[in-house]
């Protein structure tokens, strides 16, 4: 005990750790009515770290060469001890991270936390959302399976609907006329170097903004659920008399992460094939298109939307409009009220939107 104290003292007199702990952990007060949805961010941070670690481990045996990629993944799955576990964690992790991300966004939407002064938190978060989609898509190609090859062919081909520059854009994405070894090279670089670095930087920005604005008060269990922010000068939203981040909320965060991990491990060990169609285990064959190429579940709604419109450009534009609308939501919805049940119009629209998304996804799955 005294040894630990000595070490703490030793560091404290040099870098002042006690002050940091006091300011950032025990003295970092959160609203009294905070709920479990506020730990979605911590879950995502943990999930991202897990992706980075398992990804680095996979890099040890993965070979980013069109002739060897499939074989190397097969080796990881069959010959390297516990290679299957690392790969399953990476694949299941990416899907579960996407799910957690959707929950994080939904909780922010329903609790009105995106409203001023937190517009930038929402915008950085939204960019992170698209980056996670991009990293999933680029990672999809790397095993060089039938699924990888054809899903990427179709995904990149959609850019051709853009007028004038479309066809060239497709070639630029692929690095060649058709998906081939040059595509693998650039998707590999994007997946393991470019996008992770940008994601890490944006997570930094997202957290910085959170620290500067302070945690929002949930609109539940309080009298006035309106937005208190005036906008004439910078003000940190503090919560006097609130609960400390450490130890109180840190335990809640960790509990949420443990529950997430339990679900995650259950999928990894019992049914990871939920995320693997049969084509995922056949080597890529540029001369044989498999019968049913479907995107990952989180792209099914987009897939179905494009199928519904005879003109690809209309379908594509519609999605662009929807995405832009969502990205700019804090600038469009400027109402003061934050409680979901007191925002009738907002609730109707968002529930309808959510049901539409789920409906399109299910339709896409069975079509």
């Amino acid at each position: 005990m005294s040894l630990i104290k000595k070490i703490v003292n030793w560091t404290d007199v040099r870098v002042g750790v006690r002050e940091v702990v006091e300011k950032e952990l025990t003295g970092y007060l959160l609203p009294r009515n905070i709920n479990s949805w506020y730990s979605m961010g911590s879950i995502l941070l943990f999930a991202f770290a897990l992706q980075v670690v398992t990804g680095m481990l996979l890099l040890i045996y993965y070979v980013p060469d069109a002739d060897k990629a499939f074989k190397s993944v097969s080796t990881i799955m069959n010959d390297v001890p516990y290679g299957w576990l690392i790969r399953m964690c990476h694949v299941v992790g990416s899907n579960m991270m996407m799910l957690a991300l959707l929950f994080h966004m939904l909780s922010v939407l329903f609790m009105g936390s995106y409203k001023k002064p937190r517009e930038l938190n929402w915008v950085t978060g939204f960019i992170l959302f698209t980056l996670v989609q991009a990293i999933s898509l680029t990672g999809y190609l790397l095993p060089w399976s039938q699924l990888s090859f054809w899903a990427t062919t179709v995904a990149t081909n959609s850019a051709s609907a853009i007028p004038v520059v479309g066809p060239y854009l497709v070639e630029l994405l692929r690095g060649s006329q058709l998906v081939g070894p040059p595509t693998l090279g650039r998707f590999f670089a994007l997946h393991v170097a470019v996008i992770p670095a940008v994601i890490a930087a944006l997570i930094g920005a997202h957290l910085f903004l959170l620290k500067r604005t302070g945690v929002s008060t949930p609109p539940f269990g309080v009298q006035d659920t309106g937005n208190q922010w005036q906008g004439e000068s910078y003000r940190y939203e503090d919560h006097p008399g609130g609960i400390p981040f450490f130890p109180d909320y840190a335990f809640e965060d960790m509990r949420s992460i443990a529950i997430y991990m339990a679900i995650f491990l259950a999928v990894v060990f019992f049914d990871p094939y939920l995320f693997f169609p049969t084509d995922a285990f056949l080597p890529a064959n540029p001369f044989a298109t498999p019968a049913h190429i479907k995107p990952e579940w989180y792209f099914l709604a987009n897939y179905q939307t494009l199928k519904l419109f005879p003109n690809e450009l209309i379908g594509l534009s519609l999605q662009a409009v929807a995405m832009t609308f969502l990205a700019l939501l804090p600038f469009i919805d400027r109402g003061r009220e934050r409680h979901p049940l007191k925002r009738r119009l907002f609730m109707t629209c968002s529930v309808a939107g959510l049901l539409l998304w789920i409906g399109l996804s299910i339709w896409g799955h069975f079509s």
């Binding site: 390297v80 001890p81 516990y82 576990l85």
Partner: protein, 140 residues
Amino acid sequence: METDSSRRTFLGVCLGGLGIIAAAAVSWPLFRYLAPRSASETAGKVVIPDTDVRNGEAKFFEYAGSSAVLIRKKNGELAAFSAVCTHLGCIVQWEKAKQGFLCPCHGGRYSADGVVLAGPPPRPLKKLPFTVAGGNITIG
């Protein structure tokens, strides 16, 4: 307050214990994943008496859980191959008259050196290492 503090200590110990188990459960697969592969493939060796293969003939035997063949060419030179056809895995036959291998499934032909002469096989037969000493041929 008293009870809270003692409960915390108890739960802390539980958490520590579970944490150690979890850490071990993560460390072991990680160590195995990174550990160098052991060379266990050197295990099987097959010894065949020199007199068992006459000039121009072949001897089939089991090697490393699969079929293999040892041949002595007309000039007395020895060669050992995996007898598994590289096309779809059938076992090749030795054709004494033609001094070559024939796969009965789809008509793949190999020379006495294992080189593909005709048919669908994509690769030559896999060569096996062997040594000759004291009237015995040791494969592997």
